[in-house]
């Protein structure tokens, strides 16, 4: 192995992926792209092995290998031409959920296919039964937007207008979608162009050799990490609290982690049968969730390519909430069920590698989506708004306050951008004291965002969790606080849940509630669980938390035995 060439090629390819991402960020239209950065960009070799990726959205990174594999089965590779671009979003063809649109551009060099430039982005509005995606009451995939099997959006460098027309006719915000699709194309164009330069500079056979070495190297690094984890079988369970359409039913996520030598097997047997509502994870999602957990437990500097995933095996029984069968809905699997799975794996490993896990995080993106016709401009608007949660406490530090759940790495949209774009007025954005579970290392805090509706009507839907199932603690740490979504109708002083106010089955996932001018919506996000007994918390940390308002005096007294005033 030529380690100099490996270093150079690896950093060059990761840099290309980052440049693709920057293009996306700078040219896309929806806030979920350009503020929240809910996308990722990667490169694959011609067999479909992921060879480099830029760190944007972790849920997508782990999903790429299966996505590429599934699509390559269906794409007629032989008839591909230079300048073709393939678009795909189908959860039942290796995808994650309908909003996640993947663009593949074949990289041809001297007339031969050498690899793929890939960009995945979350398109906020995808058609279907609710504006902004995430219909919390969907019962089949067709409710969740337009399904796109691998199709050519460009053929030999020319727009395939039939596809464009069909896609844009089926979404509520064609202007925004057009901009986002163009941005994704600009990203794969850049990746393809720059990867061709790499092939020109180093030559095809050298590049192939080095890529092979790079995949082997990542595999070696991962094996060395797994080898250092004590052998054993570790298990844990968590639950998803509702599927949005079935009353009073919760869904089990069961994980059993087998560590043997330098191999790790993650087995989901025992998880609930698939749900009627949209909380199911596709195989792509549950595989990505397993990778996500293992990457969190190992050295973050291992190159993220298909090689590092080789020592990880995932057993995911079909027909369950972790490997859904057609045509059940799955839009919430990628955002809600994924972090629940990842958290359960970390929970299982708490006794084996206590310094590499955390107590439960809030594990939801809150996924508050809305749309309507803007009274001022007459234009249809749609938005996917996501919020942050508290991280779980760790064996060495408190949980972080107000951070995106660990399967995303999205940024929240600034209030000043949000109000300029959409007819809401945000009345407060405030951390919730005591929402972090008490512990030697306290859980992080969630927050409350309260909004006043300024438009005649805004239609809202949501896909969140942990309104009832509390974020668990570890090693004697206490549970964190739950989230909630509350509505106050114009003129009323009462705050009500979506069940109370609109007769919905679930408080945490629902579709198409019409909010009117003067109504208020309050989104409360969950905190994280605590780590270690609160009695062991350093008294000065308790005092500091009290002074800074992270905990109340009651909590200081009852949980931490504080005796001051």
């Amino acid at each position: 192995m030529d380690m100099v060439a490996m270093s150079i090629l690896d950093s060059t390819m990761v840099s290309i992926c980052r440049e693709m991402g920057i293009t996306l960020q700078k040219t896309s239209y929806s806030t979920i792209f350009n503020e929240a950065l809910d996308f990722t960009c990667g490169l694959a070799d011609k067999q479909g092995n992921l060879i480099a990726v830029a760190d944007f959205c972790p849920a997508m990174i782990g999903g790429i290998p299966l996505l590429v594999e599934s699509c390559l089965k269906e794409i007629d590779v032989v008839s591909l031409k230079e300048g073709d671009i393939i678009l795909h979003n189908d959860p039942y063809r290796g995808g994650l959920h309908t909003p996640e649109h993947t663009f593949f551009k074949p990289i041809f060099f001297h007339g031969e296919l050498q690899g793929w430039a890939i960009a995945i982005g979350h398109i906020a509005e995808v058609g279907g039964m609710a504006p902004g995606g995430f219909p919390g009451e969907a019962t089949e995939i067709f409710h969740e937007g337009v399904r796109v099997p691998p199709v050519k959006i460009k053929s030999a460098g020319v727009d395939n207008n039939d596809i464009w027309k069909l896609l844009l006719a089926n979404v509520r915000t064609p202007r925004t979608n057009y901009g986002d699709l163009r941005a994704l194309i600009a990203a794969v164009d850049l990746g393809e162009r720059q990867m061709r330069d790499v092939l020109e500079k180093y030559g095809v056979s050298d590049v192939q050799q080095i890529i092979g070495d790079l995949l082997d190297y990542a595999e070696r690094r991962m094996k060395a990490e797994i080898d250092a984890i004590p052998d054993g079988i570790y298990s844990f369970e968590d639950s998803v609290e509702s599927d949005g359409v079935t009353p009073n039913k919760t869904y089990r996520i069961a994980v059993e982690v087998h560590v043997r030598g330098d191999q790790i097997i993650i087995d989901y047997t025992g998880s609930s049968p698939q749900a009627r509502g949209p909380i199911n994870a596709t195989l792509g999602v549950s595989t990505s969730a397993a990778y996500n957990a293992v990457l969190h437990m190992t050295d973050p500097s291992i190159p993220r390519n298909s090689g590092c995933f080789r020592p990880i095996k995932v057993l995911s029984p079909p027909g369950t909430i972790v490997n859904v069968d057609f045509p059940a809905p799955s839009v919430g699997g990628n955002t809600e069920t994924h972090p629940r799975i990842t958290g359960a794996i970390l929970g299982a490993m708490a006794t084996a590698v206590p310094n590499r896990v955390m107590a439960a995080e809030g594990a939801t993106h809150c996924n508050f989506v809305f749309g309507g016709v803007d009274a001022a401009s007459g234009e249809y608007f749609a938005c996917y708004d996501l919020e942050t949660v508290g991280w779980g406490g760790r064996a060495f530090a408190d949980g972080n306050d107000a951070v995106d759940s660990i399967n995303g790495n999205c940024r929240t949209t600034p209030v000043e951008v949000f109000e300029t774009r959409f007819p809401w007025r945000v009345e407060c954005l405030a951390l919730d004291a005591d929402s972090g579970g008490a512990g030697e290392f306290r859980g992080g805090l969630g927050y409350t965002k309260q909004m006043l509706c300024l438009n005649e009507t805004i239609t809202v839907s949501q896909m969140t969790d942990r309104h009832f199932t509390k974020p668990w603690g570890l090693d004697g740490g206490l549970e964190g606080g739950c989230g909630a979504t509350l509505v106050q109708k114009n003129g009323s002083h009462k705050w009500e849940t979506m069940c109370e106010a609109y007769g919905k089955i679930s408080t945490s996932r629902y579709s198409n509630v019409d909010i009117h001018e003067g109504d208020r919506v309050k989104l409360i996000t969950p905190g994280g669980g605590g780590f270690g007994s609160p009695k062991k918390r350093a008294p000065e940390s308790v005092e500091r938390d009290l002074r800074d308002g992270y905990i109340s005096l009651e909590s200081a007294r009852s949980n931490y035995g504080y005796t001051g005033n």
């Binding site: 980052r18 440049e19 950065l37 600009a186 070696r220 990490e225 951070v403 000043e416 407060c428 951390l431």
Partner: protein, 682 residues
């Protein structure tokens, strides 16, 4: 004797560098001494004692790390934060993302303010600038009372929602607080950064307040010391935009000093562009622990508002876009768990330093590799003022070579190549990630270590030409004697092309220009002022603007139409597509006021009559093996001298290693231009 000496002083981490220009003789001199970290002015005074007569000094410009260090070490004021009801947690919530993926040990970056010191007042302005809730002045006086009772607050930051649209509430809050608490300095967001996105504006305003007492105090001390020398009124300081400011002007908004020192190399690079006519330059300034990269495009430095002092802590005042990476001569070699050789980001720092420094360092660094490979002469480091221990370098690299089962020189070569690859990453960041094509650029190297690496970097970066300036080791301080007084102003004005209120934008621009100009004149810079205006625009819905210069005298419907047309063209050029007919959104207006200062006249070299002569030779390792390489002394080189590789060009603070396939031509100012041999005669 005329009073026309200009002195530039760059207070760095290890050395304080001095460059002086004597207009009478045209002579430029440079020297350095150790920095005195506890009281940096002591090191400055030591260096200034080299100047024979202070009476000849007309201007002294200081690049200072006072603000940078206060931020990095978090030694600043205890700040109170005052904001709109419901939003005091904005500095703690931040943006919700994390520094990197998969790092379970990550701890969210702490705000520069405690939550207990945050206060809310009743008021609200809408996105359109209307008063939704009038300011409750009583609530402001209550906050003042609470701050007074607290007794520990040293500075106040005020940032209310949408103050960039309408600052009336924020201004009134600051006014009341100033009345109530006359001894506490106040920073308000509209004056520090009138741009949207409340967290970014709050973070910048808090940093400004955090710096105010310490910067004001330390500037007062510098002023007193220089007053004693009779040059207190001749001093200017360098801001993060690379421009000079009066000392009290800078102290009024100290956050503008967040990145002062590294800007000197960029200003110096712009000077090189002006002198040589080479319009596009990328500078890499390589020191012991870090390397700064920046570009000069079409003769202009690149100004950014995306700076973060730590991950997640934005400081968004306009400043020169300098990208810093933790790779330098002191970067350590190590072998990871997959058996791969890596360089840095851990560094040997100045103590103990690389193994070859002989101060007890055992681990191999980039500098050690350069010694093993014959690139750095152990007997002529810093012009011979510091002897290096070549055998210690050899032993350190041998330890890495053993683990890799390689020969020592091969291991050293691999170390060098991997270190160069890290620097290539930084070059990609400032070029390709900003949409710039390396093939349009000239690579300029500075810092003591820069010229050692420039030729290898040319080879791997696709940049066709290199340039080694004079005094590469004091390049930043040289920039300071070449700079102007400069004020950068920006403001968010949200407008769309389809409902464009040209009059409102024109008014706002006029106001912005006059505030930039008056900031200059208030500081005493009244001559040779010129103004640059531009706007930042994007397709409605996009989040990142493209900058468009505004050349026409006023903004009206017709000139706006020409701007939109220009926008489509620039978007096409930058991103490869445009959407004609699409609505365009104006986001930010920008005004830059520059008062041109008197510039040194750079002398030219005599024409070479004979070819350059090497005075010795030594063996240097290249990819192909060891080659006996002639050594030239830089000070003997004359205009139009051509040296073909392989060659070594030594000077007191640096050394340039020319590869066998390259050549150097010396231009009229003594700059060495490096190209491939095949480019000969072009």
């Amino acid at each position: 004797m005329r009073e026309d000496n200009i002195v530039g002083v760059d207070i760095g981490g290890t050395f304080t560098d001095f460059v002086s220009y004597d207009a009478t003789t045209g002579k430029i001199e440079n020297w350095k001494n150790l920095t005195t970290p506890a009281n940096p002015i002591d090191g400055v005074l030591e260096g200034l004692s080299n100047i024979e007569s202070m009476a000849t000094v007309n201007k002294i410009r200081l690049g200072t790390t006072i603000a940078t260090n206060a931020l990095l070490t978090r030694k600043g004021a205890k700040v109170a934060y005052v904001t709109t009801n419901g939003f005091k947690d904005v500095p703690f919530i931040q943006r919700g993302d994390r520094r990197s993926h998969y790092d379970i040990t990550w701890i969210k970056t702490k705000a520069f303010v405690s939550r207990a010191d945050c206060y809310e007042v009743a008021e609200r302005i809408s996105a359109l600038g209307e008063v939704v809730l009038p300011l409750d002045e009583l609530s402001v006086r209550k906050v003042a009372q609470a701050i007074r009772n607290d007794g520990t607050i040293e500075a106040i930051a005020v940032c209310t929602l949408f103050s960039y649209v309408n600052p009336q509430h924020e201004d009134r809050i600051a006014q009341i607080l100033a009345e109530e608490l006359p001894d506490i300095p106040i920073s308000s967001s509209f004056h520090v950064l009138p741009k949207w996105k409340e967290y970014d504006r709050a973070s910048t305003t808090i940093a400004d307040a955090f710096l105010k007492p310490i910067v004001q105090e330390s500037f007062a001390r510098i002023k007193t010391c220089l007053d004693d020398l009779g040059i207190g009124d001749k001093v200017g300081v360098i801001k993060s935009n690379g421009g000079e400011s009066s000392i009290w002007g800078a102290a009024a908004t100290p956050v503008q000093m967040a990145l002062s020192g590294p800007t000197g190399a960029v200003v110096a690079t712009r000077t090189v562009a002006e002198l040589t006519g080479i319009k596009n330059l990328v500078v890499f300034d390589m020191g012991g622990t870090s390397t700064d990269c920046a570009t000069v495009v079409n003769g202009q430095e690149n100004i950014t508002t995306d700076f973060e002092i730590e991950w997640g802590i934005p400081i968004q005042v306009p400043m020169i876009d300098v990208h810093t990476i933790g790779a330098g001569g002191g970067s350590l070699a190590w072998i990871d768990k997959g058996g791969l050789l890596r360089m840095g980001p851990q560094s040997a720092t100045s103590v103990p330093g690389p193994a070859c420094y002989g101060r007890g360092g055992l681990e191999a660094t980039v500098t050690d590799a350069n010694v093993v490979l014959g690139r750095i002469n152990p007997d002529f480091f810093l012009g011979g003022r510091m002897k290096l221990d070549a055998s210690a370098a050899h032993r350190a690299v041998a330890r890495i070579a053993d683990k890799l089962n390689m020969a020592v020189d091969e291991a050293a070569m691999a170390m060098l190549q991997i270190a160069n690859n890290n620097m290539l990453g930084a070059l990609r960041t400032v070029l390709l990630q900003r949409g710039l094509d390396p093939r349009d650029f000239t690579l300029l190297s500075s810092g003591g270590a820069g010229p050692v690496h420039i030729c290898d970097l040319l080879e791997i970066s696709g940049i066709p030409q290199g340039l080694v300036p004079n005094y590469p080791g004091q390049f930043s301080a040289f920039g300071f004697i070449m700079t102007n007084a400069r004020v950068d102003k920006q403001r968010t004005i949200q407008q769309v092309s389809t409902r464009f209120d040209a009059l409102a934008v024109d008014e706002a621009m006029t106001h912005l220009v006059s505030s930039a100009v008056s900031e200059l004149t208030e500081q005493g810079y009244v001559d040779n002022i010129h103004v640059q205006r531009s706007i930042e625009a994007r397709y409605l819905g996009q989040n990142h603007g493209l900058e468009l210069p505004v050349d026409e005298a006023s903004i009206d419907t017709e000139s706006a139409a020409r701007l939109w047309q220009k926008f489509h063209e620039i978007h096409q050029a930058r991103f490869g597509f445009s959407t004609p007919g699409e609505t365009i959104e104006l986001v930010t207006i920008k005004a830059v006021a520059i008062a041109s200062c008197e510039k040194p006249h750079i002398a030219t070299l005599a024409l070479a009559e004979k070819s350059a002569k090497a005075n010795s030779s030594r063996k240097v390792r290249y990819e192909g093996g060891w080659i006996d390489t002639p050594v030239y002394e830089r000070e003997t080189l004359l205009q139009n001298h051509v040296i073909t590789g392989p060659a070594i060009i030594e000077e007191s603070a640096s050394v340039t290693i020319l590869r066998p396939d390259q050549q150097i031509r010396v231009n009229e100012y003594g700059y060495m231009l490096v190209t491939a041999k095949s480019a000969e005669g072009k």
